[in-house]
Assembly symmetry: C2
Homo-oligomer: 387 residues x 2
Amino acid sequence: MKVVGLLSGTSMDGIDAAAVEIDRVDDALACKLEAFETTPYSNELRADVERVLRDEASVQALSSLAVALGQAFALAAKHMCDRSEGVQLIGSHGQTVFHEPNPADDAGRLPSTLQLGEPSAIVELTGITTVADFRVADLAAGGQGAPLVSYVDHLLLCSQSESRVALNIGGIANVTLLPAGCPVDAVRAYDTGPGNMPIDIAVRALLPDGPGYDRDGAIALSGRVDASLLAKLLAHPYFGAPAPKTAGREQFGETFFRDVMAQADGLEPRDVVATLTALTARTIANEVPRECALVVAAGGGVRNLALMAALRQELRGREVRARLALSNEFGLEPDAKEAIAFAVLAYEAIHGRTNTLARATGARHPVVAGKIVPGSNFSALMRSIFG
Amino acid sequence: MKVVGLLSGTSMDGIDAAAVEIDRVDDALACKLEAFETTPYSNELRADVERVLRDEASVQALSSLAVALGQAFALAAKHMCDRSEGVQLIGSHGQTVFHEPNPADDAGRLPSTLQLGEPSAIVELTGITTVADFRVADLAAGGQGAPLVSYVDHLLLCSQSESRVALNIGGIANVTLLPAGCPVDAVRAYDTGPGNMPIDIAVRALLPDGPGYDRDGAIALSGRVDASLLAKLLAHPYFGAPAPKTAGREQFGETFFRDVMAQADGLEPRDVVATLTALTARTIANEVPRECALVVAAGGGVRNLALMAALRQELRGREVRARLALSNEFGLEPDAKEAIAFAVLAYEAIHGRTNTLARATGARHPVVAGKIVPGSNFSALMRSIFG
């Protein structure tokens, strides 16, 4: 089945869209990426989203924004359908504008999450049945509504014979632990801590004339890791806290960078960047189980060659050496992996299969995540699956 | 198939829940109401909804309210499932908190509508596949997102041999015109104007010690219609405007009542109530086509005996006499009719059938309204339909 996956992440760069051919081979799924494209948000749309994030939007504006985002996702989906013939299903994550699975006791609020991007707009433009709004069902079952992609990691990457880890390096890095033959209800997944976020912040602050991030890891490769600073940063309480755990800008954003600089007296900018790169590599490696034979990496961080080299070295100096592979070895183009994941989650949902990892999200039980918006192909699709 | 329909209307009294047995007989649907109940909102929940209506809620509060309403709808649904065994599907309208199909040109907003009541909460509590969020798809197709119930009127009440009108008297009154053998894509439906709203407002304002509405029409029956005032009120521009058209509190609420009182010099309260009752009856009757043989009435207004008597008299004094029937003659208990309708709309949606009237809503084409949230019975349900 040809499925389109759509996603806009917390960085709000724009909409990732992937067209994927999904086939069931024996008991496993196989994915083949046919097309991938990122469509940046217009400045106006990004500004509207940011207003909601700052809680400066009226109910009217919020309601309208859900439609505006839906139309933007619809255009991205339509473009994929035009590029890749025969699309039968669309999975759309939408844009998270609020996520509060654990409100403070005195907040007077219930756990809730809000992904905007009206899927009816996608169905209207494409005619194709669309699955959307994937996080709310897990929250209703007592979970954190995340991670969702880890279900797909298990589905596509778990091996019967070797222990593996699926790694995603975005602003934050996260792992899905996949012991050999691990059943779906035992999979653990969580954020290891910093990914690109502190590196990006350091580059923008210390080298304001640069590209805004450490392209190819060139800056880190030209600097030296300061062992003393690295040791201090590793004492951050997040790394000792028990999993499952979630990290974000609160832990490893601007405040963290100010703390880093307060302890980095006299260090060259490139040495700071090198040390932060080592921190990301080390804290990822520390969460790779000792018996793990293969780490499958995806996310923007795989293009940082300094980070990949540091991580490879960390994984080499172990009792059991773990190989570091890129996810495209398994048909999952690193940049496209999350968009592909939402295509797979939609595929599972319309088959009525639970598609969440209760142990990873903390839910009471797995759920079928996603709401199905029937397109004009709905009956034919259901007949092909259940007929 | 046993289906539960859930609804909370603009009056925000609480949640109407109906358990309905739906069967397809030849080419038509037959409905049998098995249970009906209204669960009032808690004062807290109503206050939270009102804060959103006044645009005084934060994004956080709005997001949490969607879950709180979902849990309230879930309890109402669970109660129905406990009373009526074997429920396989739930259709939930939710609570409208914003509806703007035609934003002003300078508002900078897109047409949008917001029905809150997270259906994942219903699925979590009941385990049953739920269809919700019925209005957005019609808006995406350029429609007003209303009326939705008229589709069900056509499905259940249209006759091959006689011309009929389906009438609902809520705060506002609306009609679905059903010429004999009318095809689904030609059905017209719109608001005729005032229903109970001005009567209720008058009773509360002029007889503050009374029950807050004209129980059984007793007040109107004790008063006299003032022909001069009635004639003035019939000059309201709404009645001459072309259909389709929509009325609300803007046209027939408190402001309208102040206008009425400004023209009602010296009239007894009961005469004002009698005249407003006559206005509702007359403006409904004026929209009943001359060839119509049967008006099928539902909504709270059918309990107002003065209103029903006035309407019956209006329909009698015509070239073709139209009989006034209550909807329960067709298995549609008047109070439960709207909740039943959302059960039927959900039933149509999971069959992948379009369930809107494009001519009545103004959409470019009919759509499958409703998003399907898979419960644990989803696969079995799909196999029973498409297998």
